[in-house]
């Protein structure tokens, strides 16, 4: 169910360097949102909407949280919107994470930078189903770290920074040896991270969430495609994804 509607900005807060958490309110879009989906947001006079993943959803309050990094003209403009203003949003879009874990099974969440947010809503939802959560979150450096406490509330959480200015030094793949057995992993982050990760965890049951420059966001324009693993077909990130089984697509 995809809708085009106005979402009211309830709050907008800098939670880390260049990183904004925005709470948006709208009952229609919130009702259908599941972890892993995204909102396609019209920003200022920009031709193309900006796809931003859903970081959390509170269906009682009709609120969705998004987190984004100010990283260009579009996100810069989005950062300028104030509490009380409305955003023109299409959503919820894409297929969410497949959540087939059993009670008491253990799930590993691995997020890199602005790929961390969708894993939060996922982790929260899985925890409610009685699943154990372990998280590994990678950031560039100390002042980029966000949601550490929120993830700790879900379960054991390891923070990694590229330069070691906070938590472990290195990449998320460097600390995986410290993690005990897990049944399934979910990951979102930059492509080089996902490549390294899916290689390291080859054979494990896992899901990855991808991003790409998008056109329509609904599956019509074929801008955000990627080849399937067997090379005979393709998937649209916006519509068939953004979540894929780790061994379904070629990165």
């Amino acid at each position: 169910m995809m809708l085009k509607d106005k979402m009211k900005i309830v709050s907008t807060t800098y939670i880390a360097k260049d990183t904004i958490e925005m709470v948006l309110e709208n009952s229609n879009i919130t009702e259908f949102a599941v972890p892993g989906q995204f909102l396609h947001i019209h920003v200022g006079t920009h031709t193309l909407r900006r796809p931003i993943s859903i970081a959390d959803c509170n269906k009682q309050l009709n609120q969705i949280k998004i987190l984004f990094k100010v990283n260009g003209e579009g996100t810069n403009k989005l950062a300028s919107y104030q509490q009380g203003e409305y955003l023109d949003v299409i959503g919820p879009l894409g297929n969410g994470f497949t959540m087939d874990g059993e009670t008491n099974s253990t799930v590993l969440l691995i997020g890199g930078g602005i790929g961390v947010p969708p894993l939060y809503y996922l982790g929260k939802t899985l925890k409610e189903k009685g699943i154990n959560i372990v998280s590994v979150l990678g950031f560039q450096q100390k002042d980029h770290v966000f949601y550490e406490q929120q993830f700790q509330e879900l379960g054991e959480t390891l923070i990694v920074t590229d330069n070691g200015s906070y938590g472990y030094k290195g990449f998320v793949t460097d600390v995986l040896d410290q993690i005990n057995e897990f049944d399934c992993y979910y990951s979102c982050g930059p492509i080089p991270m996902l490549k390294a990760l899916t290689t390291k965890l080859k054979g494990k049951n896992g899901y990855i969430s991808l991003e790409e420059r998008m056109g329509c966001g609904v599956g019509a324009c074929f801008a955000c495609v990627l080849p399937t693993m067997d090379g005979t077909s393709y998937k649209k990130i916006c519509k068939d994804g953004p979540v894929f089984q780790a061994e379904e697509v070629t990165l």
Binding site: M2, K4, H42, T45, H46, T47, L48, R49, G74, I90, E212, R213, M214, G215, C216, G217, V218, G219, A220, C221, F222, A223, C224, V225, L226, P227, Y234, K239
Partner: protein, 303 residues
């Protein structure tokens, strides 16, 4: 208010149609509104066999527009006839099939294949895609080549043929005249303008294909100028396109000499744009002192 327009092969209830490549085969936008509202739907380009298109990134935003280099990704003409035409034919609208190819032979094959699809009302001959290595644009930038492919397609097809012209030429009028002489039933213009963007942090072209086609409001003045020039020099109707975002823009295209219009990039910003414009068009036409769509056509041309 009479919005209807009669064009070769097309009885349009209104002059609004989504442009090829920006609307897929209608399935996605059909989730937002009833496609029966549209004058016509121009399907995404069909080639002889399946094409996977270009590597990503395939799109880049620009000031007042965007660049794209999708590369004619499509499931191939037979699959389109088998699965997409039946989907669109559920709706009370006209279906225009956009056809592309790398060789003259491929254009003929694709055009011929659509003879079997009895729900397709017209062909849009794509000789202007800037994003594929061979074919496409080479047919669209040389008048004699354009005439040859038009003639070949006309010969094998039972359907009216609208030739989609490229703006990447010095003399658009000679292109239009060449395809008119070769038997084109109508023109469709303009396709995208070849452009490029370099991503400064990485010092590389942003689009994987390096170049892409510029669309959106940035190209509207070019489209208006070309339609204005061509409409005075040919006797076949023009489907106008290039950066339309509102009902007033539609009026501008009609004034320049277009008989109908296609809306592309604007669908990405507002999935309801075609539907919204159809709703607004009667009052806009009336506001500017006209009584029908037909009456507006070419009225902006000053001798």
């Amino acid at each position: 208010m009479n919005l209807a327009i009669e064009l070769p092969g097309l009885s349009l209830k209104n002059p609004i149609m989504p442009a090829s490549g920006c609307f897929g085969f209608g399935r996605e936008y059909g989730e937002f509104y009833n496609l029966s509202k549209l004058g016509a739907v121009i399907m995404k380009a069909a080639t002889g066999s399946e094409r996977f298109g270009n590597p990503t990134p395939r799109v880049a935003e620009t000031a007042s527009g965007m660049l794209n280099a999708i590369g004619l990704q499509n499931p191939g003409v037979h699959k389109i006839i088998e699965t997409e035409v039946p989907f669109l034919s559920q709706f009370d609208t006209n279906i225009i099939a956009n056809i592309a190819g790398s060789t003259l032979r491929e254009y003929e094959e694709v055009a011929y294949a659509f003879n079997e699809a009895d729900k397709v009302h017209a062909l849009e001959l794509n000789i202007s895609c800037p994003n594929v290595k061979e074919g496409g644009i080479q047919f669209g930038t040389d008048p004699s080549m354009a005439a040859r492919v038009t003639e070949a397609v006309k010969k094998v097809s039972h359907l009216p043929v609208y030739v989609k012209l490229s703006p990447n030429v010095t003399d658009i009028v000679s292109m239009a005249k060449a395809v008119e002489s070769a038997g084109a039933d109508g023109l469709s213009m303009i396709n995208t303008i070849t452009g490029m963007q370099i991503h400064v942090p990485s010092r590389k072209p942003l689009i994987a294909n390096k170049t892409g086609g510029l669309s959106g409001p940035a190209i509207k003045p070019v489209a208006i100028r070309m339609i204005y020039e061509v409409s005075q020099q040919v006797n076949i109707p023009i489907i106008g396109m290039g950066g339309i975002q509102s009902a007033v823009d539609v009026l501008e295209f009609l004034l320049a000499g277009a008989s109908a219009v296609a809306i592309g990039t604007a669908n990405f910003q507002n999935p309801f744009i075609c539907s919204d414009i159809i709703d607004e068009l009667p009052s806009v036409i009336e506001k500017y002192g006209f009584h029908s769509v037909q009456e507006v056509i070419g009225k902006g041309i000053v001798s």
